[in-house]
Symmetry: C2
Subunit: 357 residues, 2 copies
């Protein structure tokens, strides 16, 4: 019997709604496999918690999480709490404290769905973005001067370290080796951003040289964003800084059929600390509480989690279940043009997974 401990943070808005469906799927996996057990502990750390306690999680929150095998997150953010608090006191500290320096985001059009791109099918949309997840543009360093005067200014430091760039770029290459196209595309902007990005390019070049069997392309982020639209079939592994990866993956989610679908893994490749799995989408306050959110991003994130736990077969089973439901097309949430509820969608996928076996 293989036991895993899972820290579950449903979060805000639609987070708890989609998490509920995710956990049903996880239970289904236990039933099917027989030899897997997930011990899930729920934590109510979110914006409500903040309003009650003045902090997003307890002082020893990271310490509590540290001992879990993995973390499952729903989504964080509410109107009453500024984003830069909810994010900077929960998501980002977890990503950093646990050295989840790889944010792994598959961009993949699932079978049964149509891309908003006219001429692209699921053969064209199947790559993965490796986003740097701990430094760069989200550095927390900087401040303001001359506040309240016409001369007021803000400085934000982007901080890129050799260590930080090397480890994520190396990860991208190791991933590309295991994939079919054997191609790494690096996002840069060294023509406009003239200190950090040339540094990034140099390190990419060094690591590319060590991997002659992998094809390397380097594009400026502006052009690369356009290529996501015009030639997504070119990509295999895309590696990008924290901000660029953030932008590219929302864009990727859009061309891949929608933000309600896209999953992500915040990975600590050394497995010293827990990795965290969460939908790319936010807490969507506009539809929260209505029971109509699409739970697929959350469920797919659980598939990624199982992949991380090297339960490949179970991971695939979930993805298959999702694709079957989408192909059948009867049960769909509003974002996919249907009128199924979050629960109906979650249960349909769960049923598929259970029958599948």
């Amino acid at each position: 019997m293989q036991h895993y401990s899972v820290a579950v943070i449903p979060g805000d808005g639609i987070g708890p709604e989609v998490m509920q469906e995710g956990l049903k799927v996880l239970e289904a996996i236990e039933n099917i496999h027989g030899g897997l057990r997930f011990a899930c502990d729920q934590f109510d750390w979110n914006c409500n918690y903040y309003l009650r306690h003045g902090r997003m999680m307890p002082e020893n929150g990271l310490n509590i999480l540290k001992d879990y095998d993995v973390i499952l997150l729903g989504s964080i953010g509410a109107k009453e709490v500024p984003d830069h608090i909810s994010v900077w006191e929960l998501i980002l500290p977890i990503r950093r404290a646990f050295q989840q320096y790889v944010n792994l985001r598959p961009i993949k059009l699932l079978r049964g769905l149509e891309s908003p791109l006219r001429n692209k099918g699921y053969e064209d949309l199947d790559f993965v973005v490796v986003r740097e997840n701990t430094e760069g543009e989200y550095s927390n360093m900087g401040g303001r001067l001359h506040e309240g005067t016409p001369y007021e200014l803000a400085v934000q430091n982007n901080v890129f370290t050799r260590h930080g760039i090397e480890r994520v770029v190396k990860y991208a290459y190791s991933l590309a080796k295991r994939r079919r196209k054997k191609r790494v595309t690096a996002a840069t902007k060294s023509n406009g951003i003239n200190h950090s990005m040339p540094f990034w390019d140099e390190i990419v070049k060094e690591i590319a040289t060590e991997h002659p069997e992998i094809e390397t392309n380097v594009y400026h982020i502006d052009a690369l964003s356009a290529y996501f639209i015009t030639k997504p079939e070119e990509f295999d592994v895309v590696v990008a800084s924290n901000l660029f990866g953030d932008i590219l993956t929302d864009l990727g989610a859009a061309i891949g059929g929608g933000l309600g679908l896209a999953p992500s893994g915040n990975i600590n490749p050394e497995r010293i600390y827990p990795s965290m799995f969460e939908p790319i989408h936010g807490s969507a306050p506009d539809i929260a509480g209505k029971g109509i959110a699409n739970p697929i991003a959350q469920i797919w994130s659980i598939s990624l989690m199982l992949e991380h736990l090297q339960q490949m077969e179970m991971s695939q089973l979930i993805l298959q279940g999702i694709e079957e439901v989408l192909c059948e097309g009867k049960v769909r949430t509003a974002d996919l043009g249907g009128n199924a509820s979050t629960i109906e969608m979650g249960e349909e996928i769960t049923k598929r997974i259970l029958r599948e076996h």
Copy 2:
């Protein structure tokens, strides 16, 4: 008789090829209007010039340009010269020295073309991005430490000033007032970038409050990029920082039918200094010299230039000429699925403009 002096910098790669067609159109406009004269002086400032002289333009280059009414640029960049030199010694100094703090970029699907977005037609794709063009993420401030060691790091400072943000956001609102939808969408990332972007948001909010007749939406850049794909019809005037505007406009060009089409104006709204008009696309070394580049972005940039010079009718005439050629569909360059040369395309548009009158 109205005289305008135009500094023409064809630049590198396909720049001179598309510029040649642009200048034919400008001549056609002189013929049609009768009362307009453009005195064009050409400057060979480009990467070749750099290889010969060790600089992208003469020491007094900016001083020379200063006295022109407008500047027309082709594109800059060649393999032999690092981008951060060609750009930082030509385009960026011009944008800054002449306080061209608005980079105006229409995102518009021209009639006769199809968007790569499945369900979007030309009624859905018609907005404008106002990009901050002088500060922010392209600050040139920063550097490296511990070079050549494993501890090496680079810091890049994003510098945002109240003055710099205010003027571009005000411009966006003044533009929105003159448009149909009366809507400003501001790009931010204040959830992840916690000094500069909250500052940006505050100023947007202040200025929004002064314009209750304009609807204001603020989206994080990741979500906004996705919305360019999923709901472009929502946008009217999008205002963004230097980097975000750069990314959004390449993305906008892609959904608007291609990078070969999209124009831009680097505007000094106070008209103290010359404004500069250039295609969004780069020098495209891969197709340079083949005579197959699409000249439309350059020609459309001239239309923008005429708009800036308050020659509205002539500006419209050019856009009509372009759209007629596209609607007819016989003469198209390779990027639009045809096999016309740059010259054929340029001449076809010129003919249309001349007959149009």
